[in-house]
Amino acid sequence: MTTTTLQQPGAPAEHEEHPKHNLTGFIIFLCSESVIFLAFFSGYALLKTSALNWLPNGVEGLEWRMPLINTIVLVSSSGTIALAEHFKNRENMALFRGFWLMSMAMGAYFLYGQAVEWSGLQFGFTSGTFGGTFYLLTGFHGLHVATGILLMGLMLIKSFIPGNYKGGEQGVQATSLFWHFVDVIWIILFLLIYVWQ
């Protein structure tokens, strides 16, 4: 660990937040946030392996084809957001905005697909531990997707402020990190819920 000095020429008043610390703080937050999912995942695995009858009466299992398409869309959006970041670094704002918007749209499509799936299911939140964990995991993840889309929207608006990204914009980096995080969580979730039946 190297030491850092505090003096920054022309630094604003001391109680301003230092941008380079924001990213550090955000990464720490993501690590911490992943533990909640880890808790839910292990709870799911434990309840499933010890259940006497896991699926509620009349439920055969989960349909996996549409969720798979959803998965592909969401995971590819990780690629588009990386492209967007790449173009932002090249200061090509038009392509940045294009790919950024595309990632948002793919996230929104995922949420829509999720909503369609939910509305077609024969079990509810209170249908035993299966129903409970299914809605808890997908719902909590969906909440993160929605948050990610909101953050991206915020960054998109900020990109129209002239000169906003001149000194490197950590908000974009953080949002993109968050989006990758949401994608990785979904892959684990998909494996746990849809593949392991």
Binding site: T3, I28, S32, L47
Partner: protein, 558 residues
């Protein structure tokens, strides 16, 4: 760096108002945390007096059984979430930036938000006393199914408010932890490598890392508990295929490390204060610093020792017993290092030193009963009895709270700018030490003979030790009076403190008392040696003589 304009102009008196508003100065937030914590400490203490009043006789005769259960639940909850954690975060806020030479925390606004959540969830928890059905009554563990029975049947109920408050406390702690970790990692003074950092910062870093890893698991578990309670899901409900033991895993995965979140900074306080008051360097600084992180690693894999009788397999019991035992090793390293520091020193038995010595005494006792509790057959006999209650009160009150008192007496002159009174401080120490031992020692024989914890009535054979414990508790209740008197009168009209009244080594002691708003500002001294250079004659920072000369001049002029 230069010290051209050092020391900075003292910040003009800003009055009391800023302590009641949204202020982003870590030193103000620190004091806000500590004062709020002690407000709730008095409430939690009052509840403890009711508990001990009930238990002074075998029958359930002082309060109704339902009321008793609510009171002991709220006593534990308040003491942990509204006293210990906030008071430690207060110390972190005061000490971390000044010790590492940072002008403030990394995220001052987040810091203020984290603080203001405390009174908010504190209010929520207090309000639960007044909702129909009363507050949560299922213990601070809130084990389901008892905690999801909801006897009053309303959507708004004490247990639901309890879970919400605990979740908010978690949010506040996570915000704090992100802030402390970022500050320590990114904002240290020039020259202050990790191995030149004071041990308090090491222990704070370790403790806050534990918060970041552990708390989300509890939050996840609490979300599921709230769903079961409110929406009728069945994560923990056996009728719907749920598993009540799953909750215990979530709960203890965080709540055992929570003990280290509490005790690690107190180890930090001991490591800071023993060198000052025995005028010797900390013995084996590197080992003490690293031991904190070994405790973090082991602390995350011991939680099942709270669940030995809960229905876990024998191999799991053995495994978690071994990991629990191993924690004794890094903890022992610290205890022996403190003894090595004291040995051959020139001891000054000031109030903070007495609190440290008393705290160490109690901690060693608690560590020994801790080893007993780790061994499965003995634990099976005494778990969920008063033996455990005695053990953790020795840790929390006997060691942690004593250490916190030591820290308050030690750093009070620095952050308030006035000296606390030694006579009152020593009286406070004496009452606390005797009261704590009189209160908590009798709990061990009670547990060994089989008195379960959380009971509102007991068989008559347990009466004698319960009476002794209750008398000790009342003495402990009285012991807070000289403390409050001391703090209030010293704050208002205590003698002015110099910049370094204890002749201590550390960046915080190279600042005026109280420090200006942005601490060193842009003139952060360059650190050139390890902390605790007592007796070595080596300066801690460049231009140390000049800095101290100017501080003395400023004090003489004032």
């Amino acid at each position: 760096m230069t010290i051209a304009t050092f020391p900075p102009e003292p910040t003009p008196e800003q009055g009391w108002g800023r302590y009641f508003g949204f202020c982003t100065d870590a030193k103000v937030i620190g004091i806000q945390y500590i004062v709020t914590a002690f407000f709730f400490f008095l409430i939690g203490g009052l509840l403890a007096m009711v508990i001990r009043g009930e238990l002074i006789t075998p029958a359930s005769d002082l309060v109704d059984r339902a009321v008793y259960n609510g009171i002991y639940t709220m006593h534990g909850t308040i003491m942990l979430f509204l006293f210990i954690f906030p008071v430690l975060n207060g110390l972190n806020n005061l000490l971390i930036p000044t010790m590492i030479g940072a002008p403030d925390m990394a995220f001052p606004r987040l810091n203020a938000v984290a603080f203001w959540l405390v009174p908010i969830f504190g209010f929520l928890l207090m309000a639960s006393f007044f909702v129909p059905g009363g507050p949560a009554y299922s213990g601070w563990w809130s084990y389901p199914p008892v905690s999801i029975q909801n006897p009053v049947g309303h959507l708004i109920n004490g247990q639901g408010m309890w879970i919400t408050a605990v979740a908010l406390s978690g949010v506040s702690s996570i915000m704090g932890a992100i802030n402390f970790v970022t500050t320590i990692l990114r904002m240290r003074a020039p020259g202050m490598t990790l191995f030149r950092m004071p041990v308090f910062c090491w222990t704070a870093l370790a403790a806050q890392s534990l918060q970041l890893i552990g708390l989300p698991a509890l939050t996840g578990g609490a979300i599921m508990l709230l769903m079961d309670l409110t929406f009728g899901t069945s994560f923990y409900r056996p009728e719907g295929g749920g598993d009540p033991v799953l909750y215990q895993h979530f709960f203890w995965f965080y709540s055992h490390p929570a003990v280290y979140v509490i005790i690690l900074p107190v180890f930090g306080i001991f490591s800071e204060l023993f060198p000052v008051y025995s005028r010797k360097p900390l013995f084996g600084y590197v080992y003490v610093a690293l031991a904190s992180f070994i405790i973090v690693g082991l602390g995350l894999i011991v939680w099942v020792h709270h669940m030995f009788p809960s229905g876990v397999a024998q191999w799991m019991r053995n495994l978690f017993m071994v990991t629990t035992m191993l924690i004794a090793v890094p903890t022992g390293v610290k205890v022996f290092a403190w003894l090595g520091t004291l040995w051959g020193g020139k001891l000054r038995l000031t109030t903070p030193m007495l609190f440290c010595l008393g705290g160490l005494f109690n901690f060693v006792f608690a560590g020994i009963t801790g080893i007993m509790l780790a061994t499965v057959p003995v634990d099976i006999h005494v778990s969920n009895t008063y033996f455990v209650v005695g053990h953790f009160h020795y840790v929390i009150y006997g060691a942690a709270v004593m250490g916190i008192f030591a820290a308050i007496y030690h750093w009070f002159p620095k952050f308030i700018g006035r000296m606390p009174y030694e006579g009152l401080g020593k009286l406070h120490f004496l009452l606390t030490f005797i009261g704590a031992n009189l209160n908590f020692l009798p709990m061990h024989p009670l547990g060994l003979t089989g008195m379960p914890r959380r009971v509102s009535s007991y068989d008559p054979e347990f009466t004698f030790w319960n009476v002794v414990a209750s008398l000790g508790a009342f003495l402990l209740g009285v012991s807070i009076i000289p403390f409050l008197l001391n703090m209030l009168s010293a704050w208002i009209r205590g003698p002015k403190a110099t910049h370094n009244p204890w002749n201590a080594i550390g960046l915080e002691w190279l600042l005026p008392s109280p420090p200006p708003e942005d601490n060193f500002g842009e003139e952060v001294p360059t650190v050139i040696s390890r902390p605790y250079g007592y007796g070595s004659g080596q300066p801690l920072v460049e231009h140390q003589d000049e800095i101290e000369r100017r501080l003395a001049l400023q004090e003489a002029a004032a």
